[in-house]
Assembly symmetry: C2
Homo-oligomer: 195 residues x 2
Amino acid sequence: MSRALTPLQLAVLRLLADEQMHPYEMQQRIREHAIDQVVKVAHGSLYHAVARLAEDGLIEPVETSREGRRPERTVYAITGTGRDEARSRLREFMMRPVQEYPSFGMALSFVSMLPPAEAASLLDRRTVALEAKLAAHDTVVESLIKRGLARINVIEVEFLNSRLRSELDFVRALSEDIKSRRLDWRPPNGGDGEK
Amino acid sequence: MSRALTPLQLAVLRLLADEQMHPYEMQQRIREHAIDQVVKVAHGSLYHAVARLAEDGLIEPVETSREGRRPERTVYAITGTGRDEARSRLREFMMRPVQEYPSFGMALSFVSMLPPAEAASLLDRRTVALEAKLAAHDTVVESLIKRGLARINVIEVEFLNSRLRSELDFVRALSEDIKSRRLDWRPPNGGDGEK
DNA sequence: AGGCATATAGTCCACTTGGACTATTGAGCA
DNA sequence: TGCTCAATAGTCCAAGTGGACTATATGCCT
């Protein structure tokens, strides 16, 4: 394999593992199954990803149909190599945590740029937004379950929710610590004199 | 403001808010203060980010020194606009959670491509890696505290750790559920007949 | 029957990213 | 003293991303 499969490419392979389809249909399935909650899918990038997969022989065009005078659609199918590569990449993602850069972590590391009172009030606003997200996820899960999906097929939402709840706890506690002055607001570098 | 500040640009402004410096020094500070744990800093991207900040008038060159025959270094300082923009962007990051795409969430949503026994074993390997990460963070925090930093300046590591612990709990529980067959491994789409 | 919004299907390009490359200086050591 | 390795300081470019753009068909409202 020349280069490692991106999450989007893996998503494409995952869909094609079930049945062959054309790019636009992939996009629809991705929305239906809420895959766009866990993989960033920019309309433009999808076609690019598919093209590269074809170049590398992980998928191949099987037919080009056309309806009316609309642009023709190329239907792709997964190859044996594609199946193998997909599984192997998936194993990696499962067992090895990849370094991530959550923007809230970044924001926290710069929070001393703001006065404590303001920081606390921003955190309180965040809790509201987080609660809304949790509620939204619950709605999504319900609708997917109703469509007959088993728990294994919505397990990623369980994960995202456990993460959201943990962040919620953290944010609430931090806001309290700030308001009660348990967290002192020393300026950065307050304490080291070396250059 | 033409375009929203990227995390890396915000980091640059954060550093320049304390004192003026040249790009390479930024990189050193970033390593020292472990900012590269929360912001992705690719050597090449830093110079680009600085150039754009200068274009937009958020920072400005104040002097160009040179030592020996090494390439000249341009020292930059933050401007008033820069300070304002940085604070405003920081506020946004604090109060509004941004959509993120954790690759483990993605992997989970595709896990039914693997047999259950293998999935469980991969999850077990993941727990080991997560424990190692937690331990590593503890070491980092200790060393930073020893250098005289207050809790507020390592608060982001607390956040990352609470997140790691929550993931660890989730992964352990999931692995148990799989091994004990509490989670049934129906094939995807098992149950919906509509096309 | 005409008109507007939306779904279908895809291309194109400006901007980022991040890895590879260049080149000089200082430190360690044999 | 000469050699190598690491640190210093930065440029350059191939590849990827995602938003803007094009163009047809269909459903709905009036």
